[in-house]
């Protein structure tokens, strides 16, 4: 094993083979998996997210009816457990006789698309600016901080409403606008983390072997930010879903007749006191998804941050 006999002690030092059974240290990946296995919140959160993702993917198979099909003879049916409910319309129907369960199932798609899309756009903007500001500092940092301050001074929902109103509502417009307005959290976290990482010796070591700035950012710094970014992504997922629902509720989000949970609440609010399930059911769906996202985010933070540094 050792060709260089000069290096006297290395062999024993390095493999420690003569030591009594010491538990073998784990790789970072194994440590994460071991922690994830005992973290109940993470498991529940991830379970909810995964479940809803599957529902969204297989919506056409799961939905009992066409979510757009109006059956005027069967309007405003209550859910099956209420008086007058019917088994072929499990969660009842809305004002124009569309199956509520099918609309909820298809609504999962909209929520997840908007959530993931907007969180991704926010991540691209926030992480890019944060890493640049943190790594280069100086004038770039000043400029980015100015943009950040400006962004924080804007009333988000109001601006989103105005923008959607001007551009015209569609799913992609909602995704873009919600995304463009939710990057500050990414920026703040990645900027300070990058400032810390930039000073660490392995970055200097990479510089000394001739790595370019881009290579250092992509290969040395970004991988070390990944856990934090993932955590923020999960939180922003929840925030974006809520933002979409709010916009849709206010009528400047997803245009009808697309099934969106926020829109369903808006449509149901006129009959809220007579047909409460029309508001309660989509509300519960939003609640479930956002709780799932936050539990997953909390869990990810718990399992990644305690050792995150080394």
């Amino acid at each position: 094993m050792m060709s260089n006999a000069n290096i006297d002690t290395a062999q024993v030092d390095a493999d420690g083979s003569n030591a009594t059974p010491m538990p073998a240290p784990l790789t970072p990946g194994q440590v994460l998996r071991a922690r994830a296995r005992t973290h109940r919140g993470l498991q529940i959160g991830m379970g909810i997210l995964l479940g809803l993702l599957l529902i969204a993917l297989f919506a056409p198979l799961l939905a009992p009816h066409d979510p757009f099909a109006q059956t005027l003879s069967a309007r405003m049916l209550p859910p099956v457990w209420s008086e007058g409910g019917r088994w072929d319309y499990l969660f009842g129907t809305d004002q124009v006789g569309r199956d509520y369960l099918s609309r909820l199932i298809y609504g999962t798609r909209i929520s997840l698309i908007v959530g993931f899309g907007a969180a991704t756009i926010g991540m691209l903007i926030g992480v890019t600016l944060g890493v640049l500001a943190g790594y280069f500092g100086g004038r770039i940092d000043y400029a980015v901080n100015f943009v950040l301050t400006a962004q924080l001074a804007l009333p988000g929902l109001l601006l989103a409403m105005a923008l959607v109103f001007i551009i015209g509502p569609s799913v992609w417009v909602v995704i873009s606008i919600v995304g463009v307005l939710h990057w500050t959290y990414y920026l703040v976290v990645t900027r300070s983390a990058t400032m810390r990482l930039r000073e660490i010796d392995f970055v200097a070591a990479a510089q000394a072997v001739g790595a370019s700035r881009l290579q250092i950012l992509v290969r040395e710094i970004l991988p070390n930010l990944a856990p934090q970014i993932l955590v923020i992504f999960t939180f922003e997922l929840g925030v974006a879903i809520l933002a979409e629902s709010s916009l849709s509720f206010l009528g400047v989000g997803i245009p009808p007749p697309t099934p969106s949970w926020g829109l369903m609440i808006a449509e149901g609010k006129e009959v809220m006191f007579f047909r409460p399930w029309q508001v309660v059911l989509p509300g519960a769906a939003i609640f479930l998804l956002v709780v799932g996202a936050n539990l997953a985010g909390d869990g990810l933070r718990d399992i990644t941050s305690p050792e995150g540094r080394n």
């Binding site: 094993m1 000069n6 290096i7 290395a10 493999d15 970072p28 660490i200 200097a204």
Partner: protein, 615 residues
Amino acid sequence: MSETVIDVAGLSVSLTTPNGRLNAVHEISFNLKRGESLGIVGESGSGKSMTALALMNLLPKSAVRKAERLRLLDHDLTELSDKDFARNFAGQKIGMIFQEPMTSLNPVYSIGRQLTEGVVRAGLMSEAKARRLAMDLMDRVGLPDPKTRFNQYPHQFSGGQRQRVMIAMGLMSKPDLMIADEPTTALDVTVQAQILALMADLKRELGMAMILITHDLGVVAQTVDKVAVMYAGEFVETGSVRDVLGSPRHPYTAALLHAAPELGGERRRLSAIPGRIRPVYGARTACIYENRCTLAEARCRADWPGLQDAGAGHEYRCILPPQRATALAEEMPLLPSHVDPGSAPVIEIENVARVFATRRSVFQPVQSLRAVDGVSLTVSRGETFALVGESGSGKSTLARMLLGLDAPSEGRIRICDQPVWDLNGVNRAKLVQPVFQDPYSSLNPRRSIGETIAQPLALHAIGTRQERWDKVRAIMDLVGLPGAFLHHYPNQLSGGQRQRVAIARALIMQPEILVCDEPTSALDVSVQAQILNLLTDLKADIGLTLFLITHDIGVVHQIADRVAVMKAGRIVEAGPSEHVLQAPRDSYTQALLSAVPSTARALHARRPKAQTHAD
């Protein structure tokens, strides 16, 4: 003066861990009279800090303390409740000084308030009296102008001054026992010498007992009366400093003594201690040092060795004949004499300066700070050049410029006749590579060992994938890392192993020069010896030029051919290391050298006890 202050017998601390009950401290016993001091030496993980925490009742919740006897003066500490101990003992009868002077003081309160608060709140004295005492003590610990400084805040004090404040704070309640955990580790050598002398004086003057915890044998040899060598939670050897360090009976003590590079005398290869401390779970059934001991025999594994008495309070836990341990050192081979500095220069530094422009805000004028100021040096091929200086002397700034990470403001640096700053990354990487101080931060935690070492090659797309891996294996072999580590991650390796990885990464581009910035100061003595031996071997085997930056004069003596002493950005003295170390001309070099704690010198000077005041 002969009253026993602290009497400890059979003190054990065990911790609950996922792997079972860890015996962090195991049946240690000692006692101290007024004016006596005990030094506890050991490497990281030996349990020395845990011992201090056990005495101070500051153990973590999962720890259990057991003791046959734990008495402070007339009080039985085992019978006291935690609350009682905290109210009447901690900080009053027992004072404690921590390692980090920079973080032990609360930045938002004035020094005066922090000094007096404890005693006033405990009702020991009135505010006015506490104030007078605090100023008195500040004067006593060598803080000039106590009246003004009393109302100043921690950031207005330097590291050494803060440690003096901590000492004064520890003395406010006139404790009977003072525990100092690595009180000078974070300080520069010259400051360290002053603080140690101060503590020894105060101890004698105030009739305290003192426990000094350190990893530095030189500090122990110079400062305390009794010493306990700690290993894997037990005292493997105890006795007077002269007995234990002068004629060690335990192989670990002997190995530790010979692992530390010593100033003066012949340069021998260091006796590195193989392996690492093995934590002990459950009962002790064999000698705990047996797995690293070069003298170990079958009977060492049979039973936990009992205490052997060598007379005059000198005790040790080893069943082998004591002469064996003492003879350990003589076997290390002598190192070859220094390289003749006649050959071609590889590094030429001419009148280099680095000026940092700082300003407090956009509206204030720029202030310039000359971190490196008019430095000229040449280093010849195959030589080991050491740059010595205290923190803030500009030595790391010079190293960054040498590595091409920073551009010199004035002057130029040429390596092999090429200006470093103008070279592109690949060509520079083939000339000069760094090894950093902290092996924990110099490796990217998200990358496996193999990837880390191969990174420079992959970055510049040198060779095929297979060729790169072959090269990585060869280099790992060269620095003494087993091939099995290829797919390990840094967090699975010990400090010494990580430093080997950092050296391997630096060597893979086959550079001419290795710039080592304090390569061993974050490591234990035994591991430091391994790394220094490795560097010596590499230099001999592949003809490397080493540019070494260090504050440790022992390391300089051990491996450097030539040395330059840096102070406030300037070189104050340079020359062959024997000349500079033995006959320093510059007054700063002289002060630096006399401040270095040296075991041999301290033992030599004992009785009559020498006083080294470096003020």
